[in-house]
Subunit: 401 residues, 2 copies
């Protein structure tokens, strides 16, 4: 072993562990606050009416102080590819508060965007304080992404692969493999050590593959890819239309809040507000789940995110995918928890072009029986969803045709 490789290795381990502790601590705080916010909201549903006001305030704060960070996860992707100025450290607290508040008031958004942005901005702060080279800095940014993702979901290996997979469409590079792995594993351990638990989903039964089942999974993947396409196009459409008509962010977010409140009143239940974890768990077990549940959650999320609220897409898309799987399990004659589990992972895999990370995530969340089904559906729906992505900054390395 050369001295150069030894010192790089030690550096990766030490820096990766530091990033992991930072990410894990931030995720723990974030998850704790999210849980409190959800508790308050489910206890006092009246607060949902103030979502438009919350949008107005958050929008104003972001407009005033958030210019350099408004690209969110796309800023992280661009910086990992091209370098560029330090990612402002204030991204971490801003995105934290900017995500917890809408959840408190019922917006339908996720967590991974927040975790990834907190992780990356903390990692970049570390890299700049230590005066690291651009190359190592980019590796630490990927480690921050991995650490944020792995710790917020309790899936360290999926976090590692996500950190490497999400920046480019059609390729995984191993240059940040070791720091990403260390950050994700240490981050997950830190979050758990701080007493944060993660949702347990029911484990699907073992089902052997057959030709007929492969055909069913192909149909399933078509449905997932179609939903992904609708979700991405709809969110972009709402965003573009609103930006054209309402130039100022606070008013866009206020209007988004008004629409979410109106939809909430119209549908007459609170199941589609916030992360929607209880509904995800129900999708695994309840054959009576409304068939339209996936479409409703898709709409709530597209409006929330299209209006400019922060958070991310993972958990709402877990909901959409699991509910869609629930709806398809009857017609396809497949076990409910298997369809829900496969749908959960494949929806985000195709929306973010990360089929390998999400296959691993499904395995970490749901056990080994979800393999190989989830990998088959993730890859097929990834391909069928085309070159669109919830992260427009993703570089296209390999066309899908």
């Amino acid at each position: 072993m050369t001295w150069r490789r030894f010192s790089t290795f030690v550096q990766w381990i030490v820096l990766g562990a530091c990033v992991g502790v930072l990410c894990g601590g931030a995720s723990a705080l974030f998850l704790h606050l999210l849980e409190k916010a959800s508790e308050v909201r489910t206890g006092h549903e009246i607060v949902v009416y103030t979502l438009p006001l919350a949008g107005l305030i958050i929008g104003w704060v972001y407009e005033r102080f958030g210019k350099p960070i408004k690209a969110g996860s796309n800023l992280i992707i661009d910086t990992i590819h091209d370098g560029g100025p330090e990612i402002p450290l204030r991204m971490a607290p801003m995105v934290l508060i900017g995500t917890v508040l809408p959840h408190l008031f019922g917006g339908s958004a996720g967590r991974e965007g927040t975790a990834v942005q907190m992780g990356a901005s903390l990692a970049d702060a570390l890299a700049y304080r230590l005066g690291l080279t651009q190359e190592v800095r980019k590796q630490l940014l990927a480690a921050g992404v991995a650490g944020g993702f792995g710790s917020v979901f309790g899936t360290p290996i999926a976090g590692t692969v996500f950190g490497l997979e999400f920046i480019t469409l059609g390729r995984i590079e191993y240059n940040a493999l070791v720091p990403a792995l260390v950050a994700s594993v240490v981050g997950d351990m830190t979050t758990r050590w701080l007493g944060i638990g993660h949702t347990h989903y029911p484990a699907p039964p073992h089902v052997p593959l057959s030709s007929l089942l492969l055909l069913k999974w192909l149909l399933f993947a078509v449905a997932i890819a179609a939903s992904t396409t609708i979700f991405i196009e709809l969110t972009h459409f709402i965003k573009r239309q609103m930006e054209k008509r309402i130039p100022r962010l606070p008013f866009r977010m206020m209007l988004g809040g008004v629409v979410v409140v109106a939809m909430w009143q119209l549908i007459g239940m609170s199941d589609y507000l916030g992360l929607g974890v209880p509904m995800i768990v129900r999708s695994f077990e309840d054959p009576e789940l409304p068939v339209y549940a996936f479409a409703a959650k898709l709409l709530f999320t597209a409006v929330t995110l299209g209006a400019g609220f922060l958070g991310g897409e993972v958990t709402p898309l877990f909901f959409v995918g699991a509910a869609l799987g629930n709806a398809l399990s009857g017609p396809l004659g497949l076990p409910l928890p298997l369809c829900a589990g496969v749908g959960l992972a494949a929806m985000f895999a195709s929306a973010s072009n990360t089929p390998l990370a999400l296959s691993m995530m499904a395995m970490e969340l749901l056990g080994a029986n979800v393999f190989p089904h989830v990998a088959v559906v993730c890859v097929l729906s990834y391909l069928l969803a085309g070159h669109r992505s919830i992260y427009p900054a993703q570089r296209l390395w390999q066309r899908k045709d």
Copy 2:
């Protein structure tokens, strides 16, 4: 969805399925013959004495008819990267017979080289008969590798990732993702449908990660990387020395056979001949396994492969890794099946630079509890083993420092 993407997709599915059926059929025949060969050998151990004679004959046949295919798996890697003339279809039967015979007579070699070479040569025959473009042809070659690997071990997702991961060090590209997945899944189904079963290994218990455990895994990875380094260097050393002193292959293989027979007599047991599957299973369960078992198998395999026998490295390296894990489980105070399982996967991961494929393989063979431990050790030992590889043709994309 564009017409172009639709037609590519259909083409990938159909061609991938054809490659899968071919690979799966070839693997089934191969596994059936291997089982018969092992049965005959364990029933009549006297045949081991004829290993030198078998080496002489196989060597002569290869010298006479095998020139264009003697690069084996490296020829596949080169062709996937650079194109080049059609891989001769006779590679499939030649490598099949050339692997089964040494197993019959007790040589210590594996199976994946054979499966991969059969799969790729069948895929290439298909590509040439159909007059496909070079681009699609290369994708089908990767699909053949995936189909061979996935079907011979019964691990379709690991097969898929292996087909993409093993050609380049430090990168996975998705250009052949869909055909590789289809070929590997269909290949595995075909092999099972033909009545072939795979070895069941005991599932490790669930063990949560901790800082102390991470430190132990780091030591574990150092031991794995050291063994990998010794294995690769020793095999290359034996090969180089023999090629320098004995120009003709049949005599090299004869001498290799003599040495294996001598070692077999010296050690006084047959545990280190052939694939060694019973010893792999024992590594998961028997705390009394000899501490030197991993070193003995390493030596038997280095001599067998260094002398020019065919087959591959996976199963013997599974043996080496599992036995090493067995030996380390006491000193490290870790559960036996977990150490054996992690060692099994990490040894080949670091020897072939395929940490992701082998992490998935461990999960497909041993269940979800082996995660995240196996991924941690695969990545660390992959990194620590440096830039050497059992496949010298592997392109170096990303240095490990």
